[in-house]
């Protein structure tokens, strides 16, 4: 492989990987066993970035090499993180959200009875994300808090109102006769 191309291959590998990538791994992938050559390529990329004033660099860390941003750009990375919409929901959060959407108003113990696991932390997250809200207290002993979904929930899912939520039966219809068997592909 010609030198410029080899360098770009390494660059691409460094780019796609979230974790530091080791020399051994690069050797395995490229099938080029010349450690010196690989090191030179890595160094070359870093230098090129530096000379041309790019915002990226290659660092050696935790036994491998990693493409990261230069320290002086940290303020912008932070600004980007700050303005990012709280973007991700865990599967358990999604589960709790689904239970609340379909069963609201509902208290925590009922959610937990359905899911079979403690849901305190997840409920807190959903409250913080403004996907659910407290809708009142249930008139039973201890007057536990009841939860329901918010307008933010509706808009996140593009619903005009709760009546637009498909019923479980409709869902089974979409899913076809198979109902609960979500078999992976139907790629022929």
């Amino acid at each position: 492989m010609e030198e410029r191309e080899f360098r770009s291959v390494i660059e691409v590998l460094l780019f796609v990987s979230q974790e530091p990538i080791t020399l051994d791994r690069i050797i395995k992938i490229t099938e080029i066993g010349d450690r010196g050559r690989i090191l030179a390529a890595i160094k070359g990329i870093d230098e090129e970035y530096f000379i041309n004033g790019h915002g990226l660099q290659i660092v050696e860390v935790a036994g491998g090499y990693q493409m990261v941003t230069r320290a002086e750009f940290a303020p912008w990375v932070k600004a980007a993180e700050k303005t990012a919409a709280p973007s991700r929901l865990s599967r358990s959060a999604l589960e709790v959200l689904a239970v609340i959407a379909y069963k609201q108003p509902i208290v925590r113990s009922e959610i937990e009875a359905i899911r079979g696991v403690d849901s305190t932390g997840v409920i807190k997250t959903l409250l913080e994300r403004r996907l659910i809200r407290i809708v009142g207290k249930k008139d039973i002993i201890g007057r536990p808090i009841m939860y329901g979904v918010t307008k933010g929930f509706l808009s996140a899912f593009g619903l005009k109102d709760l009546s637009e939520l498909p019923s479980l039966k409709e869902f089974a219809d979409i899913a076809g006769s198979g109902q609960t068997n979500w078999i992976e592909e139907n790629n022929k």
Binding site: S17, A98, P105
Partner: protein, 246 residues
């Protein structure tokens, strides 16, 4: 006679017809219906002879073709207007053309997808908890219901648990009944349910009534057996002489 039908997987009867038309290099606007019908039926026979299932929609199309063919055989009544007589093939042709548009578009999408599958983004950071996580921006209703379905599967192997969408909570209904009692002195039992159409809202309304009675906010009176049941707002001043409690 030998025919060489290549055994392919067709998406449906329209797909098969397009294939036959293309193979025979005939004009789609002037399909020789007898010929195409024969080829179509031959293909279905072939599939059957291989003991493969022929989808119902293929059979429906076969019937349609035969029907068109027989209509074509009817003598054409002479009319002044040359274009007046409707071509029995017309509807089929327009369906074929419509389908063809999307079939081509699908092919183009496929090629484009192929190209783009060679372009990679950076690896997404793993969720700390190791749970599959979802970007809020592309969460869909499907994910939501799918999540619910998974919970249900996990938890209720026993009798199926029904999830009803509560359009109305007992709490809301309680306030609604109290609101009405602020305007009217009493309500009949049946009037409470006049506007309730679904089973769940009827149940909710009934639960609300029971709750109101339990909380001592209303009292209920029935003067004779099977007679009209009336609901009164309880006056604060105490004294439970508002009638026979239920």
């Amino acid at each position: 006679m030998s025919y060489s039908v290549k055994l392919e997987v067709f998406e449906g009867p329209l797909d098969l017809l397009l294939h036959l038309i293309k193979k025979s290099e005939i004009n789609i606007y002037d399909i020789p219906i007898a010929d195409i019908t024969k080829q179509y039926l031959d293909y279905i026979d072939l599939i059957r002879s291989l003991n493969l299932d022929v989808g119902g929609e293929f059979l429906v199309m076969a019937a349609t073709l035969i029907q068109i063919k027989s209509r074509m055989l009817l003598p054409v009544t002479e009319t002044e207007d040359e274009e007046e007589e409707e071509d029995p093939r017309e509807e089929l042709i327009s369906r074929l053309l419509e389908y063809k548009k999307y079939k081509d578009a699908a092919e183009m999408l496929g090629e484009r997808g192929e190209t783009w599958s060679n372009i990679f983004r950076r690896e997404q950071p793993q969720d700390v908890k190791g749970e599959g996580d979802f970007s809020l921006s592309d969460l869909s209703l499907f994910d939501l219901i799918d999540a619910l379905q998974k919970v249900m599967e996990r938890v209720t192997d026993s009798s199926s648990m029904e999830i009803i969408l509560d359009e109305l909570s007992v709490k809301d209904k309680i306030s609604a009944i109290l609101d009405r009692l602020n305007i009217q002195e009493s309500l009949t039992f049946t009037s409470l349910f006049e506007n309730e159409k679904t089973r769940s809202t009827i149940v909710v309304t009934f639960l609300a009534l029971l709750e109101l009675i339990r909380l001592g906010l209303v009292c209920v009176q029935q003067l004779e057996d099977c007679g009209m049941i009336r609901i009164f707002k309880k006056i604060k001043s105490g004294g439970t002489d508002g009638g026979e409690g239920v």
